[in-house]
Symmetry: none
């Protein structure tokens, strides 16, 4: 129960400023090169530390990834879920959610989100379960919002699971191709996708 332990992390909870900076740096690298292809050496150097020095702030490489992903999930929940759960109309809720979600992915802000998406099978064991549980919660939220909309007669009778995953695919695939300097602005993408997802491609 010494000070070091206290200040560092309470298991993926809040971290010291320095630790936060390290997570940030590590996320940038892992996002760019992939988890497996990014060495601790490299991360340490990017942090202005030696490999050994880096280990004052993290427990292991795996744990570092978990911390990054946890932070990413925090970010997502704060910037997406928390912003929309209060919306009463389930269709408006889903539309707002899609907008927030696309923006989160398109804005350069969040390498963490990209990492969560790309390294979806990297973490195994307890750590993997921890992250997957939080992802699952999002799927459930989407499913139940769709179901609620169906019950209210606001949307057509579709399978909520298929709809949820179609929603996610539409929104998250973006990380694979979107370029901030490309011909499409993030708003164009968000608006276009909402329009498509809710109104469909075909003429009415």
């Amino acid at each position: 129960m010494n000070a070091a332990t206290k200040r560092r992390r309470d298991d993926t909870g809040t971290a010291s400023l320095r630790t936060q900076a390290i997570l940030e740096t590590a996320a940038k690298l892992i996002c760019a090169k992939g988890y497996a292809a990014t060495g601790m050496q490299e991360i340490a150097e990017a942090c202005g530390l030696t490999k050994a020095g880096l280990y004052h702030y993290i427990e292991s490489k795996e744990n570092l990834l978990l911390a990054i992903m946890s932070y990413g999930m925090d970010l997502f929940e704060e910037q997406v879920l928390l912003q929309v759960v209060g919306i009463e109309d389930p269709v408006e809720r889903l539309k707002a959610c899609m907008a927030k979600n696309v923006t989160l992915v398109t804005r350069g802000w969040s390498k963490e989100i990209t990492i969560i998406l790309h390294e979806h099978a990297t973490l195994t064991g307890a750590a993997g379960k921890q992250i997957n549980a939080r992802k699952k919660r999002y799927v459930r939220f989407l499913e139940s919002s769709v179901q609620e909309a169906i019950d209210r007669g606001l949307v057509r009778k579709v399978d909520p699971t298929v709809a949820a995953y179609a929603f996610l695919g539409t929104v998250l695939w973006v990380y694979k191709w979107f370029l901030p300097e490309g011909k499409l602005s993030d708003e164009q993408v968000a608006d276009g996708m909402i329009d498509l997802f809710f109104k469909g491609l075909e003429v009415r």
Copy 2:
């Protein structure tokens, strides 16, 4: 530059039967564990070869991945693109394309497709460009089909690029969550997604 090299493959062209079998085996492993996490040792063993023996059939690990991906693209083009390019009605063409594409992902057939999707940033340099060019061709095909449908007044005026990537997200994200033994059959997923993508979520 020995005889073996000459006979082997003309760089992602047709391969000998034995080489084909090796690609198959390697794909299974890489699909299951990821490229970086799959060792040459492991691959060699699974092929009933020693590491050194394996190198008679492939040039390098990177090249092996390229070969797998190229084969995956062949497969995709043969089983998806080739089946639908002939369809005159652009909407029917896109619907058939989506059906074929979802099926390709859901059916266990093609670990190669999964690898192409997951390792989308692993290959760098010339090899990466080669694959990306073929992917781009698919995007262009989707975009122009959408544009054609718009021109004919069959679908609403949407941004063809956004539509193409929404199409892709909807269809390809499936590899991240679909389980063959899950509660949804592959047909349910394909039909559900076509329905959603073309008719939209909201009531008309």
Copy 3:
């Protein structure tokens, strides 16, 4: 079931000539500096190999120690136990055993024996159990020989366990102080200890 596995070791069984040489070299180093203080680097260098090359012959450092100890136990059983188990008179048997045992320790032959004695608590888990079981067999052999001698009225009524461990202490402690070039020859030590152990220190 490839050739490599076949030729190498059938789990601490017979080893290839090269492997034998490596065990020999490693034993010399570990004997001199202790297991924990001897690096794989060092061992590899002494074998004229790189670290990576060394790993073609061994599985791990722990396994290397196990192999050395197993070989030492083989040596011991062959040069001590096997030579004396056939002797009918239990007292003569124990005397011969002591002679052989002292010689084994004093002769420079066997760094392996020294390692077994010194690193008696280093190996844990299954490997440790394996070696300990063989040691225990030796203790049992001594105990039952003593008991047999008591039953025949050849030796005084003493606790066989105490006698067995006194025997072992007398004989094995030698490894801690004996120097081949010292003032005492190995025969003097062996004879002196047999005399002492069986006749006792005090005048009769």
Copy 4:
């Protein structure tokens, strides 16, 4: 060369109360896991200190081992040698010595003794010489006691060196196998060994 150093210890001389407690704690760990396998981190933690804090009390890990061993030798000399040097009859002296020595090893009291015995080759250089010199003194004491007994006609004519090392082997090997909760009490072991060593195994 700060104030702390000055006050601390005059190299294996008397230590402050706090230092004593640290030696005690460190000895417990080193005894249980071995010198090489015990980390400074671990020791510091067990002392309720950080690694850096620990270094206010010790100079180095090697020096810590020396201090423990020195303290062990103090203990031994006080509890064994000092208790028996005054005994006039050399045979009684040796018997008492054996009794005290066995007890010292069997009683859990002294991890330090176990460390001295087990890590007999760990300390090198000046530190190693220092401890070995004290050990040698014990051997000389045993040798001369035996010689004295021979001169007085109390024991048979044996080589005093062999007798001394047989004595030590008998008595010290105990640390390798004795368990406080085993079937033999420490008194049984001590009595049995004295009986054996002085009267011999064979019937008279």
